[in-house]
Structures are given as structure tokens and as C-alpha cells.
Symmetry: C2
DNA sequence: TTAATTTTACCGCTATAACAGTAAAATAAT
DNA sequence: ATTATTTTACTGTTATAGCGGTAAAATTAA
């Protein structure tokens, strides 16, 4: 899905990992502004930056369609 | 997963939909270069552009982690 | 084969994401 | 309450994604 709550999902995972936005940003190798934007569901972020954040939080992406099922 | 074959997945769906890169780009409201880049697994594309392409092809995204399971 | 289509790969230009500061809200801790 | 921490929201600058145009490969159709 075009998950509009991706930001909330990431924030929740970050909190449970005991990380601040700045710590997550440093671990992911992105700027703090980018983490802030991602958690605010700003969809103009770049895919590589999102991937870097997801990797730190151990969140996997799956793509599904009628063809892949 | 940080699906490295997202490009191939999209290309496959596009082909099965009988669309050219240019047609898909127009339907998604992005430039042809963007579709080309996405199919080449260029991860610096912007999330909104990827979402627009996925929507046209009816591909859904899911995020999974030990916490969401 | 040849012709038509599509994909790949450039180009220059424009718009803006990403960045590190900074500072003010908001939240949490004492 | 006060203090410390974190988040939010700006800034100016820099790097580059995205764009249409073009043209050459590659692929497909005739």
C-alpha cells in the first residue's frame, strides 16, 4: 500500500529502539532533517534515504500485486 | 526487503500491462527519465515518483518488521 | 532483410531535496 | 516548579533529481 502512516511506523520503531531523531539520522547516514521529514510523511524524500532509515530499524519492504501473488 | 529487483518487478508489470516506458511515465505523471531510472534500480528517485508508478501498475507496498508481525 | 518501435544514454536547465546551523516550541526528567 | 532533552520549524547553501529534447543502440514488426 501507499502507506500514509509510514512516518508513524518509523517513529514508533525508533522510539522502541530508544533512539532520537538525531541518533537515527547518524546511524542511517542521513541528515536529521531527512528523518524529521520521513516521520512527517513527506513523500519527496529520496528512496535511498528512506531505505537507509528502514535498514537501521530492521523494517523490510514487500511489493505485492495480483501478478506476484 | 530492500528489494534490489524492484526495477525488474516494475518492468515486468509494465510489460504485462502492454505499456511503454513513455506511456507509463505519462500515466504516472512523471518524466520518462524517471521510469527509466526506476527500472534501472536507481535508488535516488523520489518516493512520490515511485509511488505514482506503483499506483498505475497496481503494486502495493508493505512494511514488515518483528514489531509489526 | 528493412522499417518501426522502444530503450538506453546523453545534454542543459530548473526545481528542490538534503544538509548543518540555529532557535523556539514541545516533551520528559529532576 | 526548573532543567534537560527532544522535536519542530525555520534559514542559506550545495548537490542533484527531474524534466524534455535529442540521438544512437537495441528490440520488435513487416
Amino acid at each position: 500500500m501507499n502507506n500514509l502512516n509510514l512516518g508513524a511506523l518509523i517513529k514508533d520503531h525508533r522510539k522502541k529502539a530508544g533512539l532520537t531523531q538525531l541518533e537515527l539520522a547518524n546511524l542511517a547516514g542521513v541528515g536529521k532533517t531527512t528523518v524529521f521529514d520521513i516521520e512527517k510523511n513527506k513523500e519527496t524524500v529520496r528512496l535511498n534515504n528512506l531505505f537507509a532509515v528502514l535498514r537501521v530499524l530492521n523494517i523490510k519492504i514487500e511489493f505485492k500485486s495480483p501478478l506476484t501473488k
